[in-house]
């Protein structure tokens, strides 16, 4: 096993599992558990929120972005805050599925499937915001290089156009990676399904997969290469998102610390979201012996580490604002620490810096209610961080005569809530119709674990 040290680590999988039992456990959630009242209730709420999103978008199409609280100088309110927040959440899924695969971290096995699903749905939510924020979303294709009678091209030197390429590539590659991972599991569902309809549907989706050794060999090569491609991709996506800020000369944005600090923040909030989802899921679906306390413990450690990188970013920003000697930068920092939005800044510091320090304690890392609480706190903290970066820098820029406060309207909140509907709508469907844990990888893990027991 990958772990180093003299003590024997807790196993990543409960005792007594065989290929048959893990296959049965995961596939039965989809095939035999059926539609439970709890699922219907959750799905209904998600559906209502999705309809709320529909309502907001319709209103936005009719009336324009004026229904939101954005106005000059703060043209980038909630839409950009939520965009960066959602896309950041997605990053943990790719980190788990790609980077940890390359690093041979076996603990990723039982969480990577739903973390990847989380990535895809989070990127979908993120993508909504720049589209809606354009004001005339039906002209979104202006962002694409397409042949047009005006002979015009997108401005390829602009980070906003880079964002289009980065996010759409990220979405495509995430979906491909996810689907490739699903193929053998879909074959399992096809072979175990009892009714004709599921046999046909899973049969079509499984593409006729039969587990040939030669196919596995190419499959593993392709997965490894996809992981190798997704690794720089995921780092590039949030880097490009941070370019949206750093390439501008707005105080508080024009800084070289942004790319690494954004990537770390993305992974931080992403792991928080994985915990927020994993803790209830393992309980509801009785997956405690596949998503063990050791998994939660490791995720808490990753959060602690990335949280410290983010902390370094905050310290560096503050230091540079004063050390740099630029009066606008200095004023922005004073405004952040003691201005009209200072309470949000200090709340963010508590959420992202202070409270997560409790994760140094092993006892608290093993307390599931506390971990769940921390995951919510970090999610909120990372949202506040984006709010502070976007709004505090914009609302008081260079000319005091143009300063103004930014207040979100009820439609801002409705849009944000609505994307939760979009996210959970798909997430509930995913839980119901696809295996939420990679059956193949867990089987391989059972094999490895049993081999170890033979050798020790």
């Amino acid at each position: 096993m990958a772990s180093v040290g003299s003590h024997q680590p807790e196993p990543l999988i409960g005792p007594g599992h065989t290929f048959e039992t893990v296959t049965d456990k995961i596939s039965s959630i989809v095939l035999t558990r059926g539609t439970t009242p709890g699922w219907v209730f959750g799905f209904f709420i998600a559906f209502c929120l999705l309809m709320l999103l529909n309502l907001v978008i319709t209103l936005l199409m009719i009336k324009g972005v004026g229904i939101w609280g954005i106005k000059i100088p703060t043209a980038w309110g909630f839409a950009i805050v939520n965009f960066v927040w959602w896309i950041g959440i997605g990053h943990a899924g790719t980190l788990i599925s790609a980077i940890l695969l390359l690093l041979h971290q076996t603990w990723r096995t039982s969480i990577n499937r739903f973390a990847e699903a989380m990535t895809i749905f989070a990127v979908m939510c993120a993508g909504m915001f720049p589209l809606l924020h354009m004001g005339r979303p039906w002209l979104f294709y202006y962002l694409m290089p397409y042949p047009n009678p005006m002979w015009l091209w997108p401005q390829f030197r602009s980070p906003l156009v880079w964002d289009v390429f980065a996010v759409s590539t990220y979405f495509t590659v995430s979906v491909l990676f996810w689907f490739v991972g699903l193929i053998p599991d879909l074959a399992t569902l096809r072979d175990r399904a009892k009714n004709k309809a599921s046999q046909i549907i899973y049969g079509i989706l499984a593409l006729g997969w039969r587990g040939s050794a030669v196919h596995w060999s190419r499959y593993e090569m392709a997965s490894l290469l996809l992981a190798g491609l997704a690794t720089p991709l995921v780092l590039s996506v949030h880097t490009v998102v941070s370019f949206d800020f750093t390439i501008g000369i707005i105080p508080g944005w024009h800084s070289t610390i942004f790319p690494p600090y954004f990537v770390a923040g993305a992974i931080y909030s992403g792991f928080a979201m994985v915990l927020t989802l994993a803790i209830p899921i393992r309980r509801v679906y009785h997956l405690e012996d596949l998503v063990t306390e050791r998994h939660l413990d490791i995720m808490a450690k990753v959060m602690l580490a990335t949280g410290l990188i983010v902390t370094y970013g905050y310290i560096s920003e503050t230091f540079m604002a004063f050390y740099g000697g630029n009066e606008y930068e200095r004023y922005m920092m004073m405004n952040r620490l003691a201005g009209p939005y200072a309470h949000l800044y200090w709340l963010l510091i508590s959420c992202n810096l202070l409270i997560p320090q409790s994760l140094w304690s092993r006892r608290l890392r093993h307390s599931i209610p506390w971990l769940f609480f921390i995951s919510l706190v970090v999610n909120m903290g990372m949202w506040l961080e984006r709010f502070v970066i976007v709004v505090v820098s914009l609302h008081r820029d260079f000319l005091p005569s143009s300063w103004a406060m930014y207040y979100p309207t009820r439609w801002d909140w409705a849009t944000y809530l609505g994307t939760f509907g979009l996210f959970f709508f798909f997430f509930y469907l995913f839980l119901r119709f696809l295996p939420m844990i990679s059956i193949v990888e867990v089987r391989a893990l059972v094999h490895e674990t049993s081999e170890e027991q033979v050798h020790t």
Binding site: V173, T188, L225, V440, R443
Partner: protein, 178 residues
């Protein structure tokens, strides 16, 4: 009466170690057109059934190269040839600004090539395959490991090969109807 044509013979095993050993012995006995089917990738099994190398990395490299050239070429064509336009005092060929798009399209091209290439080389999607005619083959996606000797093999002789497979102590040997 004519027998239905046979696609091959299939032996069922209970552990990956058994199927791996069986594959090695089958190859050593001179069979060449063999394949194994397992519920998860078993290390060394592809080599044991005679698989030597895969073209996937080359396809991925080609896809990445094509994507990267497209990305850079598009930016270059747009800003230098088609519509040169000075923005922020930058020269028309301001290539450092095009790196992000070149990079993203490289990844996109390589990733699509990896998936499409892998599926195409594996001949997927396959709507019909004779091995699914065996009732017990559905266990190949749960906990059983299968070894198949195809009838196309030069050394294949139904009774002889069946005896050979039975000597490998499998859980069962089945004929695959084509």
């Amino acid at each position: 009466m004519k027998r239905r044509p046979i696609y091959g013979l299939m032996a069922e095993f209970e552990t990956p170690e058994q199927v791996l050993a069986a594959a090695h012995r089958t190859r050593a006995a001179g069979y060449r057109r063999i394949d194994a089917f397992t519920p998860f990738p078993v290390e060394g099994l592809a080599e044991a059934v005679g698989f030597e190398w895969t073209a996937v990395p080359i396809i991925v490299f080609g896809g990445g190269l094509l994507g990267g050239l497209t990305g850079f070429g598009m930016c270059f064509y747009a800003n230098v040839i088609s519509y040169p336009w000075v923005v922020g005092g930058k020269p028309p060929n301001s290539w450092p600004m095009w790196i992000p798009i070149t990079f993203e399209l490289t990844i996109l091209g390589a990733a699509i090539a990896a998936v499409v290439g892998m599926l195409a080389l594996n001949g997927l999607p396959t709507p019909y395959h004779p091995i699914f005619n065996i009732e017990r083959f559905r266990l190949a996606s749960t906990d059983r490991f299968f070894l198949c000797i195809k009838a196309r093999d030069k050394k294949f002789a139904l009774e002889e090969t069946k005896t050979f497979l039975q000597d490998l102590r499998p859980h069962g040997v089945y004929e695959i109807e084509d």
